[in-house]
């Protein structure tokens, strides 16, 4: 079986390598892609969509279908991780620990035990001792707002500079993951719970697809943002720019929600109680 697999992998690899020989050389100005498609986009982007960054306009406008289904793929990945890893809540509560804040005494409650502790005086602690470093916690606490601000900037400024929904969403999601790594999963869950992160990814896809359906409903083609000119007080060219921004917000929400969702499922082994 192993040798068979090796032979198949070798054959496929050989086919791929032989196919690369037939590619046009890197940066060849005579290749079909550089002759017709790229100059068309590069020359017409600014007059047609009022977006200086050609990458953004190609991704979100000219090839909006592609990006929409990329976002859907991300959403599917989040759902797949959820279905594989999430453990349904058991009827009996798991054994858990509480620490008395003033004295530092730790109580362990057995499986299925129910105790009503005044939560102002007790805090839940992880079953495995996890380090809490003062320096790391404080620095991350003060850096995270700036990281999130930068993420929002990247999403909103994709028209003019490198960036856009995918990159900004990753930065926003990473800020929540940093909170979870530097403090604890419980802190991150307090800031952004399971439901919110699981809601963000379908809502992002919905915003993207909903923009397309809105254009359809206004009598234009799917994802033809010129239709938004009938709703907004701008011309059809600026309407395409605004449509791209709307779509980028959807992409950012989907990416952020999915990243945080997958991370929480992986880090807590699907139980959402503790981890890292």
């Amino acid at each position: 079986m192993k040798t068979l697999g090796l032979i198949i992998v070798g054959l496929v690899g050989a086919v791929l390598v032989s196919a690369t020989v037939n590619f046009p050389p890197f940066g060849d100005p005579e290749s079909p892609a550089s002759l017709h498609v790229s100059p068309r986009y590069l020359e017409k982007t600014l007059e047609e969509t009022a977006v200086p960054n050609a990458v953004t306009s190609v991704l979100a406008d000219y090839r909006g279908f592609d990006t929409m289904f990329e976002t859907t793929v991300i959403f599917c990945a989040g759902v797949a991780c959820f279905l594989l890893l999430r453990v349904p809540r058991r009827r009996l509560p798991r054994p858990r620990q509480y620490r008395h804040r003033l004295t530092g005494l730790t109580f362990r409650i057995k499986e299925g035990g129910e105790v009503f502790l005044p939560l102002r005086e007790f805090e839940p602690v992880d079953s495995i001792w996890t380090p809490h470093d003062f320096i790391i916690e404080k620095v991350c606490r003060y850096l995270i707002p700036f990281i999130q601000l930068f993420g929002l900037y990247v999403i909103a400024h994709g028209h003019h500079s490198p960036g856009g929904g995918f990159q900004g969403g990753v930065i926003l999601g990473a800020s929540i993951i940093l909170l979870s790594v530097s403090h604890s999963l419980r802190t991150a869950l307090k800031r952004m719970g399971e439901k919110i992160s699981a809601l963000f990814s379908p809502v992002g896809v919905f915003i993207f697809a909903g923009t397309g359906v809105l254009c359809l409903g206004l009598g234009y083609r799917f994802l033809d943002y010129q239709a938004l000119a009938t709703l907004l007080p701008v011309g059809p060219i600026m309407a395409r720019s605004y449509g791209i921004l709307l779509v980028e917000v959807g992409v950012g929400m989907a990416v952020m929600g999915t990243m945080v969702w997958i991370f929480k499922n992986l880090a807590s082994r699907g139980r959402y109680d503790e981890g890292l």
């Binding site: 470093d133 320096i135 790391i136 003060y142």
Partner: protein
Amino acid sequence: MVIDLIVIFCLAVGLIFFAGGTLGLLRFPDFYSRLHPAGKLDTMGSFLILLGSAIHQLFPLTLSTVLSGLKLMLIVVFVFLASPTATHAIVDAGFRAGLEPWKKGDPRR
């Protein structure tokens, strides 16, 4: 002219710091001592190089050049916060995992 000299000085010293950091990363004997140049010299090198670029694009003095100079200095602030913290976290993890520091006479690790 004087500005150019200051800029060249900043960039050259920054590059010396970076070179020292890389040399230390390659040549020091163990985990902890290798993190020492990675945390300190790279921070100082990036500070000097960003300072040099900020001074270089500051003239002619207008609002936009001042603003971009401030942005470059903002990068310095964040590098100064984040880089030593990251090094601290890595060293902490190594110490908690039970890695013994290198002593004189031990072989390189």
